[in-house]
C-alpha cells in the first residue's frame, strides 16, 4: 500500500517550492519546515487532498529554540511542531513552523481537527504561543493565575528558583474565585425556554473520576446537556523535568506518567532515546522488555476491569482483579524489586538479568490466569445489567475516532484493526504470534470486550517469551548504553574514563530529534525528544493517549444521563497523570 502513494515531501515541494525546507531527522520521519502563513493550507492539504491522507492529528507541540546551540538553519525563537499520522501510509509526518518572539502567533487548526483544541491550549499555556481563531484559548494545565509560560527556557524549573510559596487569605480567595465555573465563558446558557439548568460540579474530588479530574455538567434533570472536562490538577511538569534530568535519570519519571503502565512508559521513552543514540538492544533485552511490558498491560487492564465494573455499580470484581494484579506485581517485584514504578529499563537494555527461577513463576501465572478471566466473563461481561449499562453508550465510529486522535483499544473497538505492535513493530514484536482483538459497534461494552481479549493475547505473548527466552546479553555494549557495562573498566583506562563520564554526567546523545511511539496500555504513547548534543534533553515531549481521549468526553455524553457519564469514563480507561503529565 505504501508503494503506490507519493512521497509527501516531494508532493509538498511541488506545491510550495522554495518556501519548504525539508530536514533530515534521525528517526526517518519526513520533516518539513514551512512559513507560518502556509501552515493551515498545508495541513488541510495533508489531511484531505494528498493521496494517502494524514487523517489523524497525532500531536501538536512547540519547542523554545532560543537557547538551542545546534538549531537548524532557519532563524527562529519558537518552533511549532505538528505530527500527523496516516493510516493508509502507516507513516507519520512532521510539519514545523518557525515563530519569532515579536510574533508568536499562528493560525488555529481547530477547524481542521477538533482535537487540536486542547493541544493548542496546551501550547499557549506552556509557551505563550497564540493561535489566532481558536475558540477558547485559555490555560489548560496551569492554574489561571499562573504567571509566565512554564516550558519557555527562561521560566524557572525548580521551586528553589521561585522563592517560598505562601498562601495568604487574599490569594486563597482569588484562587477560589478563579475556579468558579461560569457557564457563559463556555458559551453555555443558564436556562432554556422551559428549564433552568443545573450546573453540577463533579470533582476534582469525587469517587467516580478516578483521580483529580473536574467535570462540570450542564444538566436538564438528569440528562447531560453539555459538559466541560477540566484537567491540569495532576500536572507535575514531567516535560520540564525532562530538560533537567540526564537521559538516564529521566527514566523513573516516565514510570509515573501512565502510572498503571509501569515499565511500558520506559519502553516508549527508550525507543526514542535509542533511536537518537543508534542503539540496537540485544535479543534477550528485547524479549525481557516485551515480557514485562505485556505483564504490565495485563496489570493495567485488570485495574481498568475492576474499576469499570465498580463505576457501573458492581462491587466485587475490583477485589478479584486487584487480587490477580497483586500476583502479577509479585512477579514484577521478584524481577525488578519494585511494584508499580519499577524503573527497570535502561538505555540499551534492562537494569539486570532475570533472577534464577523466574520462569516457574511466570508459568504458574499463565496457568492461573485464564480460568480467572473466564470467571470474570461470566460475572461482568455476560451480566445483563452490565450490558444494559454499557451497550450503545458512548459510541465512537472509526472516522470519529481518527478525527479526534483516538488510539488503542478504543479505536479497535470501532472495528479498526490497528495495533502499533503489529503495524510498526518495535522491540521485536514482529517475532510474536498474537491477534489484534477488535469489536464492531464502538460503544462502552465493545471497548471492554477488546480489553478483555487483549489480556488473553498479552498472556499469549508472555508465554512465548517464557518458552523462547534467548540467551545472551540483557544490555547493549554500545558506548551510549547506560549505565555502561562494567566488565573491563578495571582493565583499561579508556573504558574506565568512558564509564566514569557516563555514570557521573550521563551519556551525551548526538544532536537531532526522534519520535518513539509504542502501543501502550491505553493507546499510542510517544516521546518526541530533541537533543542538542548534551547530557540532557533539549525538549521532551510526551504524547499520551489519555489526553485526546478525555477531550472526546463532551462528545460522548451529550444527551445522555449522569450514570452514562460514569460508564463512558470507565470505558475510556484514562489515568490522570497520563492526561496532565
Amino acid at each position: 500500500m505504501t508503494a503506490t502513494v507519493s512521497n509527501p515531501v516531494a508532493a509538498l515541494r511541488e506545491r510550495y517550492g522554495a518556501d519548504l525546507v525539508s530536514e533530515e531527522t534521525i528517526d526517518g520521519v519526513p520533516t518539513c519546515r514551512l512559513p507560518r502563513a502556509r501552515i493551515h493550507e498545508t495541513l488541510k492539504y495533508l489531511k484531505n487532498e494528498i493521496d494517502g491522507p494524514y487523517r489523524m492529528l497525532y500531536d501538536l507541540t512547540a519547542i523554545d529554540e532560543r537557547t538551542r546551540l545546534k538549531r537548524s538553519s532557519a532563524r527562529s525563537d519558537f518552533t511549532v511542531v505538528y505530527h500527523l499520522f496516516s493510516f493508509e501510509r502507516n507513516a507519520y509526518i512532521r510539519i514545523k513552523t518557525a515563530l519569532e518572539t515579536d510574533a508568536v502567533s499562528v493560525d488555529t487548526i481547530t477547524d481542521l481537527w477538533p482535537s487540536a483544541n486542547w493541544y493548542e491550549r496546551e501550547v499557549w499555556d506552556m509557551f505563550g504561543i497564540r493561535f489566532s481563531g481558536h475558540p477558547h484559548l485559555q490555560r489548560i494545565l496551569m492554574p489561571r493565575s499562573w504567571v509566565g509560560h512554564p516550558l519557555r527556557k527562561d521560566h524557572p524549573a525548580r521551586a528553589t528558583e521561585m522563592g517560598p510559596f505562601s498562601l495568604s487569605a487574599e490569594k486563597e480567595a482569588t484562587e477560589q474565585e478563579l475556579l468558579r465555573f461560569r457557564p457563559e465563558e463556555w458559551g453555555m446558557r443558564r436556562s432554556s425556554e422551559d428549564t433552568d439548568f443545573i450546573f453540577l460540579n463533579i470533582g476534582p474530588q469525587h469517587p467516580g473520576t478516578h483521580g483529580v479530574l473536574r467535570i462540570v455538567l450542564q444538566l436538564d434533570g438528569e440528562e447531560i446537556v453539555d459538559c466541560v472536562p477540566e484537567i491540569g490538577f495532576h500536572h507535575r511538569g514531567a516535560e520540564k523535568m525532562g530538560e533537567r534530568q540526564s537521559w538516564h535519570t529521566y527514566i523513573p519519571y516516565t514510570d509515573r506518567v501512565d502510572y498503571l503502565g509501569g515499565v511500558m512508559n520506559n519502553l516508549a521513552y527508550l525507543t526514542a532515546v535509542e533511536k537518537l543514540a543508534g542503539i540496537t538492544v540485544p535479543p534477550r533485552g528485547q524479549v525481557i522488555r516485551v515480557m514485562l511490558s505485556e505483564l504490565f498491560r495485563i496489570i493495567s487492564h485488570l485495574v481498568w476491569y475492576g474499576t469499570f465494573a465498580q463505576d457501573v455499580g458492581q462491587m466485587s470484581p475490583v477485589f478479584y482483579t486487584f487480587n490477580d494484579r497483586e500476583r502479577a506485581f509479585a512477579m514484577i517485584e521478584a524481577i525488578c524489586g519494585a511494584r508499580m514504578h519499577p524503573n527497570w529499563f535502561r538505555i540499551g537494555g534492562v537494569a539486570a538479568d532475570l533472577p534464577r527461577g523466574w520462569d516457574g513463576m511466570f508459568r504458574d501465572f499463565i496457568r492461573y490466569f485464564p480460568p480467572r478471566l473466564a470467571e470474570y466473563d461470566k460475572e461482568v461481561m455476560r451480566n445483563r445489567i452490565f450490558q444494559a449499562r454499557t451497550k450503545g453508550i458512548g459510541v465512537i465510529t472509526k472516522e470519529l475516532g481518527i478525527e479526534w486522535g483516538l488510539t488503542g483499544p478504543g479505536l479497535r473497538a470501532s472495528g479498526f484493526e490497528w495495533d502499533f505492535r503489529k503495524k510498526q513493530p518495535y522491540s521485536g514484536y514482529e517475532q510474536f504470534e498474537f491477534d489484534i482483538p477488535t469489536a464492531t459497534r464502538g460503544d462502552c461494552y465493545d471497548r471492554a470486550v477488546v480489553r478483555v481479549e487483549e489480556m488473553r493475547q498479552s498472556l499469549r505473548i508472555i508465554e512465548q517469551c517464557v518458552d523462547h527466552m534467548p540467551d545472551g546479553a540483557y544490555k547493549s555494549d554500545h558506548p551510549l548504553a547506560s549505565p555502561p557495562i562494567k566488565d573491563r573498566t578495571m582493565h583499561d583506562i579508556e573504558t574506565l574514563i568512558t564509564h566514569f563520564l557516563s555514570v557521573s554526567w550521563g551519556p551525551v546523545m548526538p544532536a537531532g530529534e526522534a519520535l518513539g511511539a509504542i502501543e501502550a496500555t491505553k493507546g499510542n504513547n510517544g516521546y518526541y525528544l530533541v537533543s542538542d548534543g548534551s547530557t540532557v534533553s533539549y525538549r521532551t515531549r510526551i504524547r499520551t493517549p489519555s489526553f485526546p481521549h478525555m477531550q472526546m468526553l463532551p462528545l460522548l455524553c451529550r444527551g445522555r444521563m449522569v450514570p452514562d457519564l460514569l460508564a463512558v469514563l470507565g470505558a475510556m480507561d484514562f489515568v490522570l497523570a497520563d492526561i496532565d503529565r
Partner: protein, 317 residues
C-alpha cells in the same frame, strides 16, 4: 394472641432489632469479605465482632455537624423519620406465637403505610441538605419508591386473597398446609424485588449511587445522624426479610425446632440473600429501573392478582 406483658415484649423486640441491625453490619462486612477473597474486620474482639461496637463509639463521638446552608429543622428530622417508621413496623411483626407487640387486623396495611412514610426521610434529607448531589439522590429516591411501592402492594394482594386476612398472624396460620411461595411464586419474586428497592440496596441503591452521587441523599450527614440512616437501612433489611418469611415462607412454622428459631433461620437466610445480591450485581440506570418497574413489574403484579382472584373465586364456589 398478643403477649401478656406488652411492655416487656416491646423492649425485648426493640433491643433485639437494634442489636441485630448492628450485628448485621458485621455479618455483611464479613460475608462480603468472604465472597470477595479478603478478610473483612477481624481485629477488634473475637472474629472482629466488636468492630461494630467500636464503630458505634466512634460515630457517637463524632462532631454533630449541620452544614450552615442546610434547612436546619428538616435536616434534623429526616434521619429520625426513617428510624421511627421502620421501628413502628416491627410492632405488628409476629416473630412467633405470642411474640408480637400489637396483633393488628390491618397489620399488612400498617407495614406498607409505614414504609411509604419512610420515603419522606430520604426525600427530605436530600432536599434539606441544599446540595445538588443530595437533591438528585432525593429525587431519585422519590421516583424509585413511588414506582416500586405500587406493585409492592399489589404483589401482596395475592397473599391476602389466599389467606383472607390482612392480619399477619392469620397469614402465617393460613400457611399450615402449604407455604404461599408455592401458589404465589410470582408474587414472591415481585415482592422480593420491590423489597430490595424499598431498602435502597444494590442493585437498587440509585439514591446513594456512590460512583455517581458520592453518597446521594446523605452526602451531607455525619455522626449519629448518618448513623441513623445506616441503622435504618439495616433495620429495613431485617424488616423485609421478616415480611418475606411471614408472607411466603410460613413464618414460624416448621417441625421439631421451636417456632422462634424457625423464624430466625428463615429470616437470616433472606438477609444473607440480600447481602449476596449486593456482592453480585451492578446497578441499573435510573431510567432503566423506572421502565422496568412500570412496564414489566406492574403488569405482572396485576396479572398475578387477576389470576389469583379468579382461581380463588372458582375454588370457593
Amino acid at each position: 394472641m398478643t403477649s401478656p406483658y406488652p411492655i416487656v415484649t416491646m423492649i425485648v423486640i426493640l433491643a433485639a432489632a437494634l442489636t441485630l441491625a448492628a450485628g448485621l453490619i458485621w455479618v455483611e462486612r464479613r460475608l462480603l469479605a468472604l465472597w470477595q477473597d479478603r478478610y473483612g474486620p477481624n481485629r477488634v474482639g473475637p472474629f472482629g465482632l466488636l468492630q461494630v461496637l467500636a464503630d458505634m463509639i466512634k460515630i457517637f463521638f463524632k462532631e454533630d455537624w449541620i452544614p450552615p446552608f442546610a434547612d436546619k429543622a428538616v435536616f434534623i428530622v429526616a434521619p429520625a423519620v426513617i428510624l421511627v417508621t421502620v421501628l413502628m413496623s416491627f410492632a405488628v411483626v409476629p416473630f412467633a406465637p405470642g411474640i408480637i407487640i400489637s396483633d393488628l387486623n390491618v397489620g399488612l396495611l400498617f407495614v406498607l403505610g409505614m414504609s411509604s412514610l419512610g420515603v419522606y426521610s430520604v426525600v427530605l434529607a436530600g432536599w434539606a441538605s441544599e446540595n445538588k448531589y443530595a437533591l438528585l439522590g432525593g429525587v431519585r429516591a422519590a421516583a424509585q419508591m413511588m414506582s416500586y411501592e405500587v406493585f409492592m402492594g399489589l404483589a401482596l394482594m395475592g397473599v391476602v386473597l389466599l389467606a383472607g386476612s390482612f392480619n399477619l398472624t392469620s397469614i402465617v396460620t393460613a400457611q399450615r398446609h402449604v407455604w404461599f411461595v408455592v401458589p404465589q411464586f410470582i408474587g414472591f419474586v415481585l415482592f422480593l424485588i420491590a423489597g430490595v428497592a424499598e431498602t435502597r440496596r444494590l442493585p437498587f441503591d440509585l439514591p446513594e449511587a456512590e460512583s455517581e452521587l458520592i453518597a446521594g441523599f446523605h452526602s451531607e450527614y455525619s455522626g449519629m445522624k448518618f448513623g441513623m440512616f445506616f441503622v435504618g437501612e439495616y433495620l429495613g433489611v431485617i424488616l423485609i426479610s421478616c415480611l418475606i418469611t411471614i408472607l411466603f415462607f410460613g413464618g414460624w412454622l416448621g417441625p421439631v425446632l421451636p417456632p422462634i428459631v424457625w423464624f430466625l433461620i428463615k429470616m437470616m437466610f433472606f438477609i444473607c440473600f440480600f447481602i449476596l445480591l449486593r456482592a453480585a450485581l451492578p446497578r441499573p440506570r435510573f431510567d432503566q429501573l423506572m421502565s422496568w418497574g412500570w412496564k414489566v413489574m406492574l403488569p405482572l403484579a396485576l396479572a398475578n392478582l387477576l389470576v389469583t382472584g379468579a382461581v380463588a373465586l372458582v375454588w370457593s364456589s
